[in-house]
Every structure is written in C-alpha cells, then in structure tokens.
C-alpha cells in the first residue's frame, strides 16, 4: 500500500483510539487480553466504607497445552471499579500483581494501588491520549533534526546510545552521548531515508542529494 493510504489508515485508527472507541495492539496481545478476560475473574473481597480490596482469581486454566501455563497470560487487564458512592475509575492491573486497594470517600476515589504500587487512572477519550503523550514526551530522550546531524535532548544527562539505521535495517551510525543536549553528525551519510533511535525516541529523516 502506498504511503498516503497508510497514513490515512493510521490517522483514522488514532482518531478512534483518542475517542476511546478502539484499542489497537498486536494480534498476540489482543488475543491474550481476550483469553485473560474470559477466564480470570475479579471480586471485591473487603470494603469498609473507605477502602476496598479487589483480588484476581486466575485459577481457571486458559490454555490446555502443557507448554503454556497461565503465567504466560499475564498482560495487564483494565478494571472498572465502582465505589458504594457510585463513582467509577478505570485502571490497568496485572493479574499476578497482588491485591488492589482502593481508597475512597464520598468525594471520590483518592488512590488505587496494587501491592503498594500506585495505579494510574485511565482517563476517557482524547484526554487519555493527550496525557499519555505528555508523559511519553517528558519521560526521556527526544530527537530533533539539525542541518548536519541529530540533536539528542537527554534530560537525565545519563549516557544514551544513538543509532541510525538505513532502510535496509543496517546500522550506519552508532554513537554514545552524555549530558542533556548533544548532536550526532549525519553529514557523511549517502542520500536516502534513515531512522535515528535513542532509548524510546525515534525520528525519520532524509539526507538529500547535493545539488549540481
């Protein structure tokens, strides 16, 4: 499929994800979610009016194969939790992650933790996508194109490896940068399209042929 068809498909999918209508993942992860959802259960095991305890039951065998234990089906599941005040929150929790504790009052849910670790509430629709994007952007390394190289913004200042790949998948540049802002030179590359990767950040760029 051509580039414009592909971008049109992706943009449409993204719009439905942002609206809260659609979950897009790999086939294997979607399959595992379905099987976990259909075989695991959750129940409220305690509720004293200000705190609830929720526990997974993962005892039902999902896959009859002797080579696939239930521990393979450990992807997080989205729980819809409703308090006695009819206030609902959604969180992603690990089925083998231990008990979930919900602190709440008449004013709303104040915290949700699993085995002591805070779980992030899943907002609805576009707000969800924006908050996720902000978190991703602020969390780590970012890359930007410069005239003769790639600018690596690295807030942590820790060493980070930058690799540049050609369309063939071959790594053509590898460099380690330290500090919050550094550049990696790309002016020796042949004309073509490349991908630069550092941590969870990536950027595509083109090296143009020089004019005559």
């Amino acid at each position: 499929m051509g580039f414009s068809d592909w971008i049109t498909v992706l943009n449409y999918l993204k719009s439905r994800v942002d609206a809260g209508d659609l979950w897009v993942e790999t086939p294997q992860r979607v399959t595992k979610y379905m099987m976990e959802r259909d075989n695991y259960t959750v129940s409220v095991t305690a509720d004293n009016g200000s705190a609830m305890t929720i526990e997974f039951n993962t005892s039902a065998e999902i896959n009859p194969s002797p080579m696939v234990a239930n521990s393979v089906y450990s992807d997080s599941l989205t729980l819809v939790i409703t308090t006695r005040y009819n206030q609902s929150v959604r969180v992603n929790a690990a089925p083998f992650g231990g008990a979930i504790t919900v602190q709440y009052g008449a004013g709303g849910v104040t915290s949700v933790t699993q085995n002591g670790v805070p779980l992030q509430e899943i907002p609805v629709g576009v707000a969800q996508a924006r908050s996720t994007l902000r978190a991703e952007r602020s969390a780590g390394t970012a890359l930007a194109r410069q005239p003769s190289g790639i600018l690596v913004r690295n807030p942590s200042g820790r060493p980070v490896t930058v690799r540049v790949y050609a369309l063939s998948g071959q790594c053509v540049v590898e460099a380690q940068v330290t500090g919050p802002g550094n550049s990696v030179a790309t002016n020796g590359l042949a004309p073509g399209l490349y991908t630069a990767v550092a941590g969870s950040a990536s950027i595509a760029f083109a090296v143009q042929a020089r004019g005559r």
């Binding site: 499929m1 051509g2 580039f3 068809d5 592909w6 971008i7 498909v9 992706l10 943009n11 449409y12 999918l13 993204k14 439905r16 809260g20 209508d21 659609l22 979950w23 897009v24 993942e25 790999t26 086939p27 294997q28 992860r29 979607v30 399959t31 979610y33 379905m34 959802r37 259909d38 959750v42 129940s43 409220v44 896959n63 009859p64 194969s65 080579m67 393979v72 599941l77 989205t78 729980l79 819809v80 409703t82 308090t83 006695r84 959604r90 992603n92 899943i122 969800q128 996508a129 790949y165 063939s168 998948g169 071959q170 790594c171 399209l193 991908t195 990767v197 969870s200 990536s202 595509a204």
Partner: protein, 253 residues
Amino acid sequence: MKTHSTSLRVLPVILLTVVTLSSAQTGSARIALWKNGARGAYSMSGDDYACQYYGNLTTIDTTTAHRGIHMGLTTVSDFPSCLGSCSEPYWEFARNVLVPHGHQLISHSYDHQWHLKTQAALALILDTSQAHIQAHVPANECRFFGDYGGMWTDSMIKVGPFYERVEPQPIMTDSMVNYMKHQDFVGARMGGTTLAGCSGVNPSSYDPFRTGYVIWLNGGTSEHDAFRQRVQCAIDSGGHLNYEFHNIGEVVS
C-alpha cells in the same frame, strides 16, 4: 412520654435501614471488554517481514511510533531461503528498533512453502520458526502464528495467458490448529478475506487459534470506506478486527 415511646419504636427501624444500606451498597469491580475501556479491538500485521512485501521499514517504524500504535510483523524465519536476500540486519532492526517500540514478530513459518502442509512437517513449520525468532530476538515473545497463502504448487500451472505457481488452498488446516493448541502458542490467524461488510470482524470471544483477518488490497476511496465500515463494526459489536497489509509505505500497492 409519647415522644419518647415513638423514638424507641422507630430506632430499630433506623438501625436496620442503616445496616441494610451499608451491606447492600458495597463497591464492585469487573474486567473491561477491551483494554483501556475501548469498545472494540483492532490489530494488524505487515506481511513477510524481511522476506518480501514488507514495505518501507523506516516508514513503518516512525509512522506508528509517533501515534503510539503497535503492530505485528509476520516473519518467515529462514531468511536465506526467502528470495535469498534476507540477512542479519533485519534481525538487528527488529531487536533494536521494532520490538523496543512495541511491535511483535509473528511466526509465519520456516520458509513460506506449501509442501510443509504435511503432518510430519508441522514441527518444522511451527516450532523451528518460533525457535528461530526467539533466538534472534529474545525480547520478542513469539506465540502467535500467521497463516499464509503461498502454498504454491510445485509445478507451473497455466493461469489465463500465464504459467505460474498458484495457491490452491489456505495453509491452515485443522491438524495444524490442533497441533498448535498443544505447543507453545496462544493463538493464530486464519482465513483471510477481502469480502466487504462486517463478515471479517471477529466477535468479542472466539477460538484464538482461528482469528479471522482481512487483507488490504489496492487502496482508493472504496477500500478506505470498507476499512472504516469494518472498524465501526468492531466497535459496535465489541469485536476484534485484524488486518494484513503489504508493501507498507511503498508507492505500488
């Protein structure tokens, strides 16, 4: 005095009411139909990673990464047998770029050949390819199989004015499904379709080893309309839509 006796009579009723309300109005929890509370699920695969038809890898990576979208890449594990042009850089690209960005390599057989349909060759089709992928890309959990056409006849057959190898039937057979269900797999896709409408959408629950999928053809307005219709069907029915794409990002569809 009258007031006092009335209070005594009413008090047990009040207490009973409070106790009843407290026990009845406990909280509840349930597992959402799909992740993040979505109404429908969608997944997709790029065909024949590192073999043929896989398209522009840089485009695949950057355009999905910027949108937070993950996809599968059906991988023919024995690269040298696949057009003779595949090599270690594709494994490296998967290890260093695709998998860290959330994509997954899917087993797509050992060499994409139809003669492996025989029962005796199932281990070669499934187990060997899975082991290959796992060995080269350890961070990639490979427990899904993507069926394929390519069950080409060994001999050239006349099709219209041309002689070519043809695909007489789909690769996925009941014996393969049964074999897989006793191996290290969690699911598979089979039965690709190009039919319009909602027929290609899987329901919210189904046999995970028989995930139906839709094949993207040539693009254009009508195909985009059909695509959106299928996505809407998945959302409306709480189902799972799975798509396969070829030559992603290349000019020719």
